[in-house]
């Protein structure tokens, strides 16, 4: 009996050490990984790397931001409204169940499959060339489920008394949603949108056959219909993440390709980290600060 207790104790101690080792190992791994990407990337810096020629990533950086902007412009309204529907209007019937399964399916689709769907519908079926808008649409399909679920969860977690209070004052259900419920869950929705944006920045597989793997921008051309105008979303728009993929094969053509890819990786990781930091800070402030000022 004594021996068994002693051996149980020893096993317990050994396992505790094992768990600390596993935890510590991954903590160190992530620090080394993130540190390596950022430091190695920044060390690859050379003057002109932010430029808009083939040795710079200026155009790709702009395309990334511009593409994410369009994708949010599309997915946020649809996602938030669909989330409102799920939280407030959906009755517990077959259609709602099917909608839930649909959201789930969308959220678990491999991004390359979504990219292929985009390729099929926005490129092949429209007869268009690679364009940034097709990429934005593909990315918005990827972020739609998370924005919808975030909105639904945020609305469902509000106190029931908000709705009752507003309805008791003679507001319609929709007015209640727009004037009380939506503002009340605004910080949570913003957090969700920021996280979706962060994923959008890093997306590559969905853009391979939609946004295209090249970009030519003439920064003096502000004719929106022109193929080289920066703001024309219907031009090829290679993004930063895709640029890393392209640089991998361009080793012989572009002497700086490795440095560019290193630097792009660092920029991407820094952007994503900043975004998740922002989301984290907003989450912390929820509850602490109530929204609404005297209008």
């Amino acid at each position: 009996m004594q021996a068994r207790i002693r051996s149980a104790r020893r096993t317990d101690e050994v396992m505790t050490v094992v768990f600390y080792a596993v935890g510590g190992f991954f903590l160190v791994l992530i620090l080394i990984l993130a540190g390596y990407i950022i430091i190695n990337g920044l060390r690859s810096y050379y003057p002109g790397i932010f430029g808009t020629t083939s040795s710079g990533i200026g155009n790709q950086l702009f395309n990334t931001v511009y593409l994410v902007f369009w994708s949010l412009l599309i997915s946020v309204p649809i996602g938030v409204l669909a989330g409102i529907y799920m939280a407030e209007y959906a009755k517990p019937n077959k259609l709602t169940k099917f909608l839930r399964i649909s959201i789930e399916s969308l959220s678990s689709l491999p991004s390359i499959v979504v990219g292929l769907f985009g390729y099929l519908v926005f490129i092949l079926m429209t007869g268009a060339k690679w364009n940034l808008m097709a990429g934005a649409l593909a990315v918005s399909i990827l972020s739609l489920p998370s924005i919808t679920t975030t909105t639904e969860d945020a609305m469902k977690s509000l106190p029931k008394s908000y709705k009752a209070g507003s309805m008791a004052l003679g507001a319609t259900h929709w007015t209640t949603i727009i004037k009380v419920l939506l503002p009340a869950c605004f910080p949570r929705i913003i957090t969700g949108v920021i996280l979706a944006a962060g994923r959008g920045f890093g997306e590559a597989a969905a853009l391979l056959y939609t946004a295209g793997q090249s970009t030519v921008i003439n920064w003096n051309n502000w004719n929106l219909t022109s193929k080289t105008c920066p703001l024309n979303p219907f031009r090829p728009g290679e993004t930063l993440a895709l640029h890393i993929w392209v640089m991998r094969t361009e080793g012989s053509l572009n002497p700086n390709s490795e440095k560019i890819a290193n630097f792009s990786a660092a920029v991407l990781v820094i952007i994503v980290l900043l975004f998740s930091l922002a989301a984290r800070m907003i989450t912390k402030h929820i509850g602490r600060k109530a929204v609404g000022e005297k209008a």
Partner: protein
């Protein structure tokens, strides 16, 4: 005084079902204007459910079926009126203070705003008038832009009353408005209710019999979905006609 009072709300043979459950079993009562009517009874007796039928808040819940009639100034609220319009005339104050996560000002003018009043001066006037009526203007006038969630529970509840007053209802329903408050705040709300009855008809649900005797003119005793006894508060408490009422008010009853 209650004898000559005009009837504000007239309820005829009202039944309410939650799915299969028969929650209100044929309630008939007349609620007089400019008086405070208290609804008492043990929990689950249907008093809050009954209160919610008066401004159709039960419409928001699924599987609720209602039979019988409720008339407000003679008009059937389930036939001749729509719920939105009704709720502007029959306001409600809830058990838990429920200010919106907005500023104090925005809370008070929420009702007028959704009714289309945009003029800032007019909204400010409504805000001041409502807060004064709710006897909380002096406490809040310097912090109208601050979040309503920062107020104490008692202040929040009076703010909610002001928010209801800003819509200019005829009737105010109060669903155990002080059950979440301390005694001092409770006293203030009770005092306020008694002031307001000059201009409004008030129906208050309370689990606290002393509160009913303190504030109300009439009292209705509910038990298991039945209206057991209804009459002058003083009369009902000092000389109950029904044995069940007597057992309840003397505390010999679950």
């Amino acid at each position: 005084m209650s004898e000559q009072a005009k009837t504000k709300i007239s309820v005829q043979d009202l039944h309410l079902y939650y799915g299969q459950f028969h929650a209100l079993k044929g309630i008939t009562m007349e609620i007089p204007e400019h008086e405070i009517t208290a609804l008492i009874g043990p929990s689950g007796c249907g008093k809050s459910t009954f209160l919610k039928t008066l401004n159709r808040m039960n419409d928001l819940e699924p599987n609720v079926r209602i039979e019988g009639s409720v008339r407000l100034d003679g008009a059937d609220i389930y036939q001749d009126m729509d719920a939105i319009e009704l709720r502007k005339r029959v306001g409600m104050v809830f058990q838990q203070p429920n200010p919106f996560p907005k500023s104090i000002f925005e809370n008070v003018v929420y009702g007028p705003r959704i009714n289309g009043i945009r003029n800032k001066a007019e909204l400010e006037e409504i805000c001041e008038r409502s807060l004064r009526q709710a006897a909380i203007w002096d406490e809040l006038k310097d912090r109208l832009g601050k979040s309503a969630l920062g107020l104490s529970g008692g202040q929040q509840q009076r703010l909610c009353i002001a928010r209801t007053l800003a819509v200019e209802p005829d009737v105010i329903l109060m669903d155990e408005p002080t059950s979440a408050l301390d005694p001092i705040s409770t006293g203030k709300i009770e005092e306020l209710a008694m002031q307001l009855k000059k201009d409004y008809t008030i129906v208050i649900v309370t689990h606290n019999m002393q509160q009913a005797t303190r504030v109300s003119d009439r009292t209705a005793f509910f038990l298991l979905g039945d209206l057991v006894e209804y009459g002058d508060t003083q009369e009902l408490f000092s000389n109950p006609k029904d044995e069940r009422t007597e057992r309840y008010i003397t505390g010999r009853f679950g």
